[in-house]
Symmetry: C2
């Protein structure tokens, strides 16, 4: 591979897949609200803005459609899915169940990640911005599930988690709620430290039920 005459690689392949980079950009635009719910997406304009052509942009948008962040109507094109409390009520129970399934099936190995869960949760409790809190909360739950060998399961959970990112901003904007979540995480950790699977499962479910209800209240309010 290394060429004697040309020790520096001629040209490092700059990007992997344009469509994947575009998907991440779009995701950012949607999650941060720069593309608002209900807003129509003009392919040419966005593709110019992101400096790419429409082909990979459309591929990225179709991916986001499958993830539930965007929709298409025939001959009307893409729109950002509006925020909707119904989506919360649909996704949270699924997410809770799948995470519990992952933990159940990898119970024996969960103890190995308890120290890591503690560290992440400590940082999570100290998070000052919603963005950072979301990142750490996601990391915490991913770590909890990291011992599951069911790749399909973890990937489904990741997808669901993406879909609720926009909503979690509401939740994480309230530092009091962050602390409640952190306390619930501690309970989960304690249960697994005591080797009590069922208590752990119950605590995970509580974590999600509380999160969902808090979110629904926040959304109803404002």
């Amino acid at each position: 591979m290394a060429n004697i005459r040309n020790p520096t690689p001629p040209k490092t392949n700059v990007h992997k897949r344009l469509r994947e980079a575009l998907r991440l950009s779009l995701l950012d635009l949607i999650v941060t609200g720069k593309l608002k719910g209900g807003e129509r997406i003009n392919e040419s304009r966005i593709s110019r803005r992101l400096k790419a052509s429409r082909t990979p942009l459309r591929e990225a948008l179709l991916h986001l459609e499958r993830e539930g962040l965007v929709r298409t109507d025939l001959r009307r094109g893409f729109t950002v899915e509006p925020l909707c409390s119904r989506e919360i009520r649909e996704i949270y129970p699924i997410l809770a169940h799948l995470e519990c399934l992952a933990v159940r099936t990898s119970f024996r190995f969960v103890t190995t990640v308890l120290p890591k869960l503690n560290r992440i949760n400590a940082e999570f409790a100290r998070a000052r911005t919603p963005g950072r809190a979301i990142k750490l909360d996601t990391l915490w739950h991913n770590t909890l599930m990291s011992q599951s060998k069911n790749a399909r399961l973890t990937s489904m959970v990741a997808t669901l988690r993406l879909a609720i990112r926009r909503y979690e901003h509401f939740y994480m904007a309230d530092s009091k709620l962050i602390h409640i979540s952190a306390a619930q995480h501690q309970e989960i950790i304690a249960a697994f430290r005591d080797d009590d699977l069922e208590a752990g499962i119950r605590a995970i479910e509580e974590n999600y039920v509380f999160g969902m209800q808090a979110l629904l209240r926040k959304m109803g309010e404002e």
Copy 2:
């Protein structure tokens, strides 16, 4: 084809979205094994075969990738995912749990579909071909879940069900197994007729566990 003299019959726009029609065609090719696991997909060739251009074909393939039937490698393109017992072990538990979740949350209304479940199951037991058996089994489970108002949940289940279609052919090729499944369906129906949710849930889980194990045996054998 287009006749200048004849302005009236503009070729009836047969399809809604070409990419969706192509996805169904590809799905059929894969499920029926005309495109075999591991086989590489030549976009130009397939697009010619299906009489469309590469653009919507690729969109369809990317959709199938998200559904787990196909994969892409950078600069190598699409290949059909090989059949793999691991996939069964991953998907069946998820499927079972999600279906149970759907039934739990729509328990009160399940009784309304019991007659329909009976009819479908009777037909299912009489199915003579694997294809028809799969269709009726799918219909049966969809009917069982049809009272759930969680659209995200039912759509996730549908996607998972697609992913295991290829495997179910093995299962449904054995008419003895069809009869066992039909009997298990009867147990599920009976439980709900007795208004016994927990017994119903257990019976659903059994149905899936048995199906998975039978499938794993079949695959191991041959």
